[in-house]
């Protein structure tokens, strides 16, 4: 079916102009419909994710399905409050007056999603768009076709299709969509495509949120509960879609003295999680497709790195599986240290003093997340102060995503804009400033012809100082 973008836009704009999507009732009905999708079709969703990513049922449930239903429930609870205008304080300068900030939808928005959490990362921004009262088009990733197709089917079944649409397809369809004028574009994916999206958005002055990625480092200090730390690292790396997660710990930095303990602990806990042969474990995802499989094996086969594997390295091309693998001290100019890995390979870099890790991290682009495992308060403070990243977690990985009172977004190469919780509502809203004035107390000093006395009054008004205002008004 050819994508008639013009007809689509016309319909969506007409729906939006009718005012339907702005009502509280409409927004609630759509959010409730999304919850219904997650409860009535859990099996279908798990099935699609197994088909696309060989994702274990637990990950499908915990990382994707529950994320959507709990976010919808949270928004339903808070939405009325968020929709209210926010009163703000005015000063003597504009007395008498009252002011407020009114949240209004932007209009018709486009959400372009990605393949690694194809259900969650498609619907989470859509929740924000709907909560803020917009009409929305979702373009799921064609790299996860079963989920894309399921989203298209379920959303057209449960949602108000005059305002919420799904368009499937790849680069050609996305290009057609990007040619239109949107009131906002929300993109999750790579920096390379992010640049293409921005260039298209620039033609229409469309504001954009870019949720990209980067090499998220995890610094591991020595004086810690190593077992717990390692379990949390494994959970964030191999327990999150086999490392194909924008906030997975990409690489580790630890001291030379501690590295062998760390490697041993990783091996022990990995065996507890996935058994002696992780390639056989059902609890461990596959690589999404052969293109990425080849990309990852190339990183491993790089001659600068191949001799430094300390565990793992096995691969199964038929089943697109790569074992949890660690590499010790990959050189800075190796491929694996110069692109986001997005897979189950974990470089471990060693430094003399743990404080040196900060400089190593800052020599690279700002990542989406940075992690530190330590009990040393001073190191923690230095790390937080001097490392710039989208978000951080101390003594854990990935979990900061689940806290919807914290904004989730990047900085620098990892993107800009943020969402989750109220930040999603804000991301898809225009915050309109409203000032209410009366006709009382009109000051003639505002108007020409100007003279020194009027200048005094203006100076006093701008200072906001009531005494000088009174003095100036009385000509003292």
């Amino acid at each position: 079916m050819a994508l008639d973008a013009e007809a689509v836009m016309k319909e969506l704009r007409s729906t939006y102009t009718s005012g339907k999507t702005r009502t509280f009732e409409w927004r609630v009905s759509q959010l409730k419909a999304l919850i219904k999708i997650t409860t009535h079709h859990e099996k279908d969703i798990v099935e699609a994710l197994r088909s696309d990513l060989n994702k274990p049922e637990y990950e499908a449930f915990v990382h994707e399905i529950v994320g959507i239903s709990s976010e919808c429930k949270f928004v339903l609870k808070e939405l009325r409050k968020w929709m209210k205008p926010e009163k703000v304080k005015t000063t003597m300068t504009t007395f008498p007056s009252s002011a407020e900030i009114v949240s209004e939808p932007l209009g018709v928005v486009l959400v372009i999603s990605t393949w690694n959490y194809p259900f969650y990362l498609s619907l989470n921004p859509v929740i924000g768009a709907i909560a803020a009262g917009n009409a929305v088009v979702l373009k799921p990733s064609e790299v996860a076709p079963a989920t894309s197709s399921l989203l298209s089917k379920l959303l057209s079944q449960y949602m108000d299709t005059s305002a919420v649409k799904v368009f499937e397809g790849g680069v050609p369809e996305t290009t057609i969509l990007l040619d239109r004028k949107w009131d906002k574009i929300f993109y999750t994916g790579s920096g390379k495509v992010g640049r293409v999206i921005l260039a298209a958005a620039a033609k229409h002055l469309t504001p954009v949120v870019l949720e990209l990625g980067g090499k998220s480092p995890a610094v591991v200090d020595s004086n810690i509960n190593l077992k717990v730390a390692v379990r949390r690292i494994i959970s964030g790396k191999w327990g999150s879609n086999s490392g194909q997660t924008c906030v997975s710990p990409d690489y580790i930095i630890t001291t030379k003295a501690f590295s062998s303990q760390l490697v041993d602990a990783l091996k022990d806990e990995l065996e507890k999680f996935y058994g002696k042969d992780p390639m056989q474990s059902n609890d461990f995802s596959s690589i999404i497709n052969s293109h990425h499989f080849d990309r990852l094996t190339k990183l491993l086969d790089d001659e600068k790195v191949s001799g430094k594997v300390v565990f793992g390295g096995q691969r199964d091309k038929t089943n697109l599986k790569i074992a949890p693998t660690a590499i010790l001290d990959a050189p800075d100019d190796s491929l694996i240290m110069n692109e986001e890995i997005f897979g189950p390979l974990l470089p471990i870099l060693t430094v003399d003093k743990i404080e040196d890790s900060i400089g190593r991290i800052n020599s690279k682009e700002k990542p989406l997340a940075a992690y530190l495992f330590t009990n040393d308060k001073k190191l923690e403070e230095e790390f937080i102060k001097n490392v710039s990243a989208g978000g951080m977690a101390i003594n854990d990985t990935v979990l900061h995503l689940a806290v919807n009172s914290l904004p989730f977004g990047g900085v620098g190469e990892s993107g800009y804009g943020a969402y989750h919780g109220k930040f999603s509502f804000d991301a898809f809203s225009h915050k309109k400033a409203v000032l209410h004035r009366t006709f009382a107390g009109d000051i003639d000093a505002r108007y020409p012809p100007y003279n020194p006395r009027k200048l005094q009054v203006i100076k006093a008004l701008l200072s906001g100082n009531i005494l000088s205002i009174i003095r100036a008004l009385f000509g003292w």
Binding site: S69, A202, L205, F273, A393, N395, V411, V434
Partner: protein, 481 residues
């Protein structure tokens, strides 16, 4: 250019701009600059735009002073982390949002308020702890030159650079990589800026313009006179109509049109005089190119025929008389483009409510001004139109209300500043989650099984009682489908 950017990045890396002491010193430096150079600033603005000192103080010096003082009073509060509420499930843990500077930022000033539109964003960038390049507009050369020569005497020259020049210099700057670009100007140039920024994934704030309308309801008495005073002041007061939030045109009911025109004529004569060769207290047009552009708007015969006051100009001094037009053709350029000059079209309607559809047919403007006592109309305007801001019963003054965000939507731009919004616009809000090693949640980890799955179901619905029962083995799983 290379050295410029590298130098600023080096300064940023050394960490001094992050210290609150440094930021406050810079803010005090900006204050001192405007205080100690007031007469030089008045002189430069007179040269570039014919701006009267009272207007110059009100719109430029006073604005900068107020911003800098507001920042100084609040910066510690703004720099503090904000606590985030965490679910019990994650106990013990702590969450916060920490503002941090973006790094090295680029600010493009504009020519109509060449001092405040360069320094106000600069205040925001400095309060957030960044190093900064400011490129003032070359169309206001005296101000650009004053900033270039004098700012380094007041601010840390290793961290703040003023770069003069035209579009060629702007192009060179745009090739570099910045951590943020702040642009005030036209949508046309805004597109160029955003396209250049796309290559480096640089976030951008665009403060653009649009046709800012006035909706003038019909009501009687002295309040109507006050309304017209404010409309006149809001049209010709800021830079002779060359202002992004300046009033562009007025929508009024047919029955009130003639009284409006009469009152406006009186205002013009009172405020500015009626001889184009000797107008007082009003700016001139910035240059020949814009002068011709504005005059050309009157070339259309239908437009010329609708002039009810003014229409004359003094080419030598680049002065255009405050001009009122009554119902010019709606498809003429004067009604389809942002005027940015002292021409005021008045469009008459049968019912004032029609103004809403009229406005909605045009791109979203930076500001809408509505003079009315009718609460129902106010509500309708708020809900059925979209603009950067809405001001009831006044004009322009929303600009000095620091508690309100100042920015556009749609074609009038995106992003915002003023007050704390300036600090935020130049900051990255970093989320930080603090966890301890204590209290591990076993069901987080593989190998997975039904017990762990049920645990997570209960956990995500924050069903703590159910969770407790489940852990104690006292609960049968309830898998709802």
């Amino acid at each position: 250019m290379d050295r410029l950017e590298e130098g600023l990045r080096k300064t940023f890396r050394c960490g001094k701009t992050k210290e609150v002491g440094w930021r406050k010193a810079q803010l005090r430096g900006v204050l001192k600059f405007v205080e100690e150079n007031e007469s030089k600033i008045f002189e430069a603005l007179k040269q570039d735009l014919g701006k009267h000192p009272v207007e110059a103080y009100r719109d430029e010096i006073g604005v900068v002073k107020k911003s800098a003082e507001n920042c100084l009073n609040n910066i510690e509060k703004w720099m503090n982390p904000k606590k985030g509420k965490l679910p019990l499930l994650l106990f013990p843990s702590k969450g916060e949002v920490l503002p941090e500077p973006l790094g090295t930022v680029l600010i493009f000033g504009s020519w109509n308020f060449p001092i405040s539109l360069a320094l106000d964003p600069l205040i925001g960038a400095l309060s957030a702890g960044n190093t900064v390049v400011v490129k003032p507009s070359e169309l206001a050369p005296a101000c650009s030159s004053l900033l270039y020569s004098t700012i380094p005497l007041y601010l840390d020259a290793e961290a703040i650079k003023i770069v003069e020049g035209g579009s060629d210099v702007a192009e060179q700057l745009l090739e570099r990589r910045w951590d943020k670009i702040f642009f005030t100007g036209s949508p046309r140039v805004g597109r160029i800026i955003m396209s250049a920024a796309a290559k480096h994934l640089t976030p951008v704030t665009l403060e653009l313009g649009g046709k800012c309308p006035v909706i003038l309801d019909s009501f009687s008495g002295s309040d109507f006179k006050v309304a017209v005073n404010r409309i006149a002041g809001g049209k010709w007061g800021p830079c002779a109509g060359q202002a992004c939030i300046g009033i562009d045109y007025v929508l009024v009911q047919q029955k009130s049109a003639s009284i409006l025109v009469e009152l406006l004529k009186n205002c013009i004569k009172r405020y500015y005089g009626d001889n184009v060769k000797n107008l007082q207290s009003i700016c001139r047009i910035v240059n020949k190119q814009h002068f011709e552009r504005v005059c050309n708007l009157l070339e259309d015969p239908g437009v010329a025929a609708s002039i009810v006051y003014g229409g004359s100009f003094d080419r030598e001094n680049l002065m255009i008389e405050p001009t009122i037009l009554l119902d010019p053709p709606l498809d003429a350029q004067i009604m389809t483009e942002e005027i940015f000059g002292p021409l005021l079209p008045i469009i008459t309607l049968d019912k004032i409510e029609e103004s809403i559809d009229f406005i909605n047919e045009k791109p979203k403007p930076l500001a809408i001004y509505a003079f009315t006592k009718n609460d129902k109309l106010k509500k309708q305007i708020l809900q059925e139109t979209s603009s950067g801001s809405v001001t009831f019963n006044d004009a322009i003054i929303q600009f000095i209300c620091d508690a309100l965000p100042f920015g556009g939507v749609g074609q009038s731009g995106f992003g915002r500043y003023h007050g704390k919004f300036s600090f935020d616009t130049f900051s990255h809000e970093k989320a930080v989650l603090h966890r301890s090693f204590f209290l591990e949640l076993e069901p987080r980890y593989p190998p997975w099984n039904d017990f762990k799955l049920e645990f997570i179901r209960l956990a995500y619905s924050f069903n703590y009682i159910g969770l407790l029962l489940h852990l104690l083995g006292l609960r049968t799983p309830n898998r709802s489908r």
